[in-house]
Symmetry: C2
Subunit: 703 residues, 2 copies
């Protein structure tokens, strides 16, 4: 760390108090200094961290003591901390060791007092953590602050030459935004309770604080309702959370400082409700559980009093399960055709002077908001619900762009961002990282208006994930989003982000997430006895197609297994990232970039070897046959790359015909096959262009 930075931190410390106030849009002007993060794998990076000399040993004598306010939630947190350290390091936490008293404790935790009875977005999450050679101390205002600080401490534990230890640091930390969420859609594919739980562990690790649980959809109603049992009995194919499971998960989340906001999407996306209760719908029925993806026609009837009687009793039952002060009503994608076709609804609209479907939906939302207000719940809804008639206290979730966010803030409504953070769109971590709720048009807002922007949520829609693959779509990319929502806006270095995400990724897998191992499991099944390395080498350079390209194939329903190479393949090819940077250095300095040149040559040789290793086996494996063109194109890219590398190194040129053929090959290799993209195609194109062979245009999307 430079002397300047040290001086800066020293000054800063004077200005900070232990119990940091909650500031929803704490903008700091700390310059981003990746060097200060060297060797530390923290995600999200704290608002302030000062390195000091020395380390705290984490050995058999490690134990933590709660010295201030305590409650069972904190005791369980300490227990989890010790278990996790034990599993990771081999340190032995003896049960009952706490009785040994504070004198010999390794970690002293001092919490000032209890937090909110039901955690809300105003909860104080700040903490101060100091680690010295003798002991660590964690000071916070609330138990949630303790939870945040313990996660930082756990991420700081590392193996070094002397065993396990925590480098000496002073951390003073407070989130930039108070609403930092992950949406999990448990409807399009069923996501069992244990998968939710391990993802809550992951969320806690990166200090996310809202599980937005998408619980009803055209394709499934996922909560046991005792009042209206046909909801889950006929609307779920038997895949739903029992009320006990819901309670357990809500308690599990609270133990980790995470709120649970349920979403029951209405008035559209409701087909599964109508299988058992067709009288709620605007059409004549009967209805079946939706099997296809996309926007569907069935809508709730917003004009029938019976709809609201049903919803009142339903909400009354559900609020006992979900204590959070917010309730997500959905409200997205309401084409309104079923309303248009229903004469009674049309008459109602004329009588009530409702100009169009937006007015009718606003009417419905107002009624719904009233029902929820009776239960002390405020509503969250997708940006379609924005309408002048809506009551105060709602939160707008902006998914279609920044516009909803900015408009809501201008109107003095609270709002959160999800546009740019759709995990199912299979974008790079860097791309998600560049999204900032206070950037672009939001940067033009006044400071007062900006305070209405509470944060945002990553969204894991589940059309193309199952319990087996969902972790791989959530992690580690969600770490980038979590950092954007927690860390100062100035923390933006992408190389450093990737370095730390790599540490995070292994850390998460180490305690139960399956985002890394899922690929092995899936490839193993595809390989059917074939050694994995060639398949892994192939998958390493691939990424699934982006955005809405998979649903656009039209071949998918909820009954089609997701067990192909595209499902096994991770959303982001780190090999392509590394290869691309090596290529750029080689092109910039063909003679000088020795290591990079060697790396590029090795990769090209590996890819060229794949047809030999894979061709004899693909056709006899039904699920792998579709990989053949990918193997061929990758080998073709390797040949182009080798020719280009040779030309670059020797300072020669490809002859024009050869160059044209090479450009065509790269371009063809860049096109999706088997719903996969060869992500090294653009870099091979740049290598080729570097020889003066002309540019290859129109290859995969920017990262």
């Amino acid at each position: 760390m430079s002397r300047t930075v040290l001086r800066y931190f020293a000054l800063l410390n004077l200005a900070l108090t232990v119990a940091l106030p909650v500031t929803t849009t704490a903008q700091t002007t700390v310059p981003d200094d990746p060097a200060a993060r060297a060797g530390l794998g923290l995600v999200p990076w704290p608002s302030h961290l000062e390195r000091q000399s020395g380390r705290l040993a984490v050995d058999g004598g490690f134990y933590a003591v709660l010295t201030g306010y305590t409650e069972p939630r904190l005791e369980r947190a300490v227990d989890r901390l010790e278990r996790r350290i034990a599993a990771r390091t081999g340190v032995i936490p003896l049960p009952g060791r706490q009785a040994a008293g504070t004198a010999g404790a390794t970690l002293l935790i001092r919490c000032e007092g209890p937090g909110e009875k039901v955690q809300s977005w105003t909860e104080d999450e700040s903490y101060r953590l100091t680690v010295g050679p003798e002991r660590a101390e964690l000071e916070t205002a609330t138990p949630v602050g303790v939870l945040r600080g313990l996660e930082t401490l756990l991420q700081l534990v590392r193996s070094d030459g002397e065993g396990f230890g925590i480098p000496a640091v002073v951390v003073e930390d407070v989130p930039r935004f108070p609403w930092r969420g992950l949406l999990i859609d448990a409807c399009r594919h069923w996501i069992p309770p244990e998968v939710i739980k391990r993802n809550l562990d992951g969320m806690a690790a990166v200090k996310l604080n809202v599980l937005h649980w998408h619980l009803s959809e055209d394709q499934g109603f996922r909560v046991e309702s005792r009042r209206y049992p046909k909801l889950h009995e006929l609307g779920s194919d038997g895949n739903y959370y029992t009320q006990d499971e819901i309670r357990e998960i809500v308690a599990y989340a609270r133990d980790r400082g995470i709120r649970v906001v349920p979403e029951f999407d209405m008035p559209g996306h409701t087909t599964s409700w109508f299988v058992g209760y067709p009288e709620l719908a605007s059409g004549p029925g009967p209805y079946e559980i939706g099997r296809r993806w996309g926007v569907m026609k069935p809508h709730m009837d917003p004009t029938a009093r019976s709809t609201y009687r049903f919803l009142r009793r339903f909400i009354d039952e559900m609020v006992d399960l979900f204590p959070d002060p917010y309730w997500h009503i959905g409200g997205d994608e309401v084409p309104g055709d079923e309303w248009a076709e229903n004469p009674r609804i049309q008459t109602f609209m004329i009588d009530e002077e409702l100009a169009d479907k937006h007015d009718l939906q606003a009417w419905f939302n107002r009624e719904l908001a009233d029902l929820l207000a009776d239960e002390d719940r405020s509503i969250v809804g997708w940006d379609e619900i924005l309408h002048p008639d809506l009551p105060e206290g709602i939160v707008i979730q902006s998914w279609r762009g920044m516009e909803g966010l900015v408009q809501a803030a201008r109107e003095g409504r609270h709002t959160i961002l999800s546009n740019g953070w759709y995990l199912d769109h299979i974008q790079s971590a860097a791309r998600h990282y560049r999204v900032d709720p206070l950037s672009g048009p939001a940067a033009e807002l006044g400071p007062e208006e900006q305070t209405f922007i509470l944060g945002g949520e990553a969204c894991m829609w589940s059309e193309f994930v199952t319990a087996e693959t969902i972790d791989s779509r959530i992690w580690p990319r969600t770490g980038a989003i979590a950092e954007r929502l927690w860390s100062p806006a100035t923390v933006t270095d992408e190389d450093d982000l990737y370095r730390r995400l790599d540490v995070l990724s292994r850390y998460l897998e180490g305690f139960g997430l399956t985002h890394l191992s899922a690929r092995t499991a899936l490839l193993d099944r595809l390989a059917d006895g074939l050694p994995l390395p060639p398949l892994e080498a192939l998958s390493d350079v691939l990424e699934p197609v982006k955005g809405y390209q998979r649903p656009a194939t039209g071949r998918y329903t909820s009954l089609i297994p997701l067990n192909r190479l595209v499902d096994a393949t991770r959303p982001e090819s780190l090999t392509a990232r590394r290869f691309g940077r090596a290529v750029d250095r080689v092109v910039a300095d063909p003679a000088g970039a020795v290591e990079e040149r060697q790396y590029v040559a090795e990769q090209l040789a590996l890819w060229r070897s794949l047809p030999g290793a894979l061709y004899p086996h693909l056709q006899e494996r039904a699920l792998l046959a579709e990989a053949e063109p990918l193997v061929g194109d990758l080998a073709g890219l390797a040949e182009v790359g080798e020719a280009a590398l040779k030309a670059l190194t020797t300072g020669t040129r490809l002859d024009p015909a050869e160059a044209e053929a090479a450009r065509a090959k790269v371009q063809a290799a860049g096109r999706p096959k088997a719903e996969l993209l060869i992500m090294v195609a653009p870099a091979v194109g740049r290598l080729l262009e570097g020889t003066g062979a002309g540019a290859v245009v129109d290859i995969p999307p920017a990262r």
Copy 2:
């Protein structure tokens, strides 16, 4: 398949009827013909299988119909079948497709009638499965027969050039032994419900039919008791099965044709009972949960009437949870010191004319048998309980040798074998496979006596496994034991076993077992960012030390995490097996065995490269530091191997000093380090010996 074999099967078919009778010791004289098994991955191999030409396509139109007797258990089995096929192949089982009727069904299942209300070892498990190009038919006497046949069908599904299909076959199958078990010790380390469940799935796949669930021990009492809550509250560290969980697991097992025999080990191995109820013990107490491994002193007091009053009420509560007609009373390892030190117990023995601790234990067992008889339960016990005073109807489980088995059979008592099948002893699959309950001294028994030998059980004691590693110790080796217990005694070809275990292994991992992926997860944590291949290459040639060598180190307690290289490493090195066979061919024919020579040379080069890849990183990783001598020894072996290979190929000799140094190197490399053995050391020794450089003696155990 040869014409002779075809003719043999044709003759055999004439002699077989559909509903095969249960024969407990069905000895056949079918010669083992691995060629007939080519391309099929079945484990266990059926008693009779005839290949025919053609295949049944498994595509989007696949569905199964129950045409005979049915019950919910069978419907759930069909549902599981379709789900598993869907997950594996991408075939779509449309819900409600069964309604389409039998005409277009791919699989017709005809079950004659219901089975036993509570499955026992006399249940008929036979089935007949015919697969033709148009459809498959499964005919059985009982639902359990259907379950067995469906597992065979599932294992037959394979990917071929045309997609997924099942080769045309006629299978007529009946188990050789009726008691085929797996013991899981849930006490030494806690094994959570989901781990039990996935292992039940594995058991079902290889047609095991008894889960022997070891539920109480010095180190933990694992069942919720409402009558005596201090059993689980004070005796389990909070890790126990609730009664609901027990019921769910018992039902889950029954759905898969698996009995659940609970073991509450008494009168020794009972420390955890005494933490809450010291009055049951023979000593003064107080007692704490055992943390070390081995035989412990606390014993139940067999002389106090209060002990039996307690046990009566306890058994009365537990039998509601465990419907099996058998109850395992343990009875092993009773040193009796606590009895010897208690004057009241000594007086009792004099009064009752009990000569020694064996008589006293027999007294206890008789009382226990009476209590259990009142609840219609027969007892199973470890071979120590064999005593003339025992009542009839008991089953003796022989763990110390074949003697108990043979003696019990001679006395007309039912008996099962576990000696030779201790999975925690980390022996090869081949070694377990060679164990046969009717071999050795048991082969000398008369045919009548042999019928008392009901089968056997693999034993997974959990001192050195956790929920994370237990699968890797059970699978795939338990497949070899399952085959020994199911298949004809003549099926003994070990190469073919390993080929099929490899298919089985991937199949099991494909539906949820974690025996393969666990290593990656553990190595990943150890590697802490290091690329895995060099570590995997190292682990590939290692095996944990055998038998009781790990506990003999004396350093282990139940609180020590099992997260080291020895825990990550699989019990059997298939690389060592393959390398050893290649070496033997090279030694036998140095000029001719070209492929083998190349393979050996490649392996040696890989091992020689490991210090370069690993040395710079091991010491800064606390948990990997102990791997350094292994890496060094393996590289040393590689040097010896390369010198020997060169000498062999060129027909030269090492000079005597070099040969002596090489022998010493091999010998040193053969000694355990970090509780691991380098399993390729013997083969390198043979390579060296092949050059005429003298024999290396005293390297790791025979396989």
